[in-house]
Subunit: 81 residues, 2 copies
Amino acid sequence: MLKAYIDVTLKKSILDPQGTAVKEGLSKLGFEVETVRIGKHIEVTLNDMNRENAEKLIDEMCLKLLINPEIEVYSYRIEEE
Amino acid sequence: MLKAYIDVTLKKSILDPQGTAVKEGLSKLGFEVETVRIGKHIEVTLNDMNRENAEKLIDEMCLKLLINPEIEVYSYRIEEE
C-alpha cells in the first residue's frame, strides 16, 4: 500500500503571522532563529494502485481540495507502507 | 545556513477529526482513500551553526514549544540552504 506525505506551505510572497508568532515564542524561550514558516503536513494512505496513478491522484487532490493555489504550494513524497 | 523541515503529527493512538473531515471531503469529490491524517509542517531557518548543534536545538525547540509530547510526535530533516 502506498502512503503520500504532503507538505503544504505558504508561497514565499505571502506573510505568515503564525510563523512570526512562533518565532517570537521561541525567542522568549531563548531560542534565536532566523525565520519560522508554518504549513500543513498531510499523510494520505492510498487504496491499492501503482505509483504513477498515485502521483496523479495526489496532484488532483491537492489542487481540488487540499491546497489553496492562490497562496500555497505543495510538495510530496510517496512511500511503500 | 541550515534549514530544518519539521513534521509534527498526532500519535497513532490519538483520533484526528480534521483528517476524518478531509477524508470525507475527498470522498465527496470522488477521491476514495484509506486514511488521512493532518499535522503541522514547520520550516525553521537557523542562525549560523553546525549540524550537530542544529539537531540539538531543534530537539529542544520541539519539546519546549513546537509539539505537545502527550499527543504528538515529530520528525525532521536538516538541509543546507
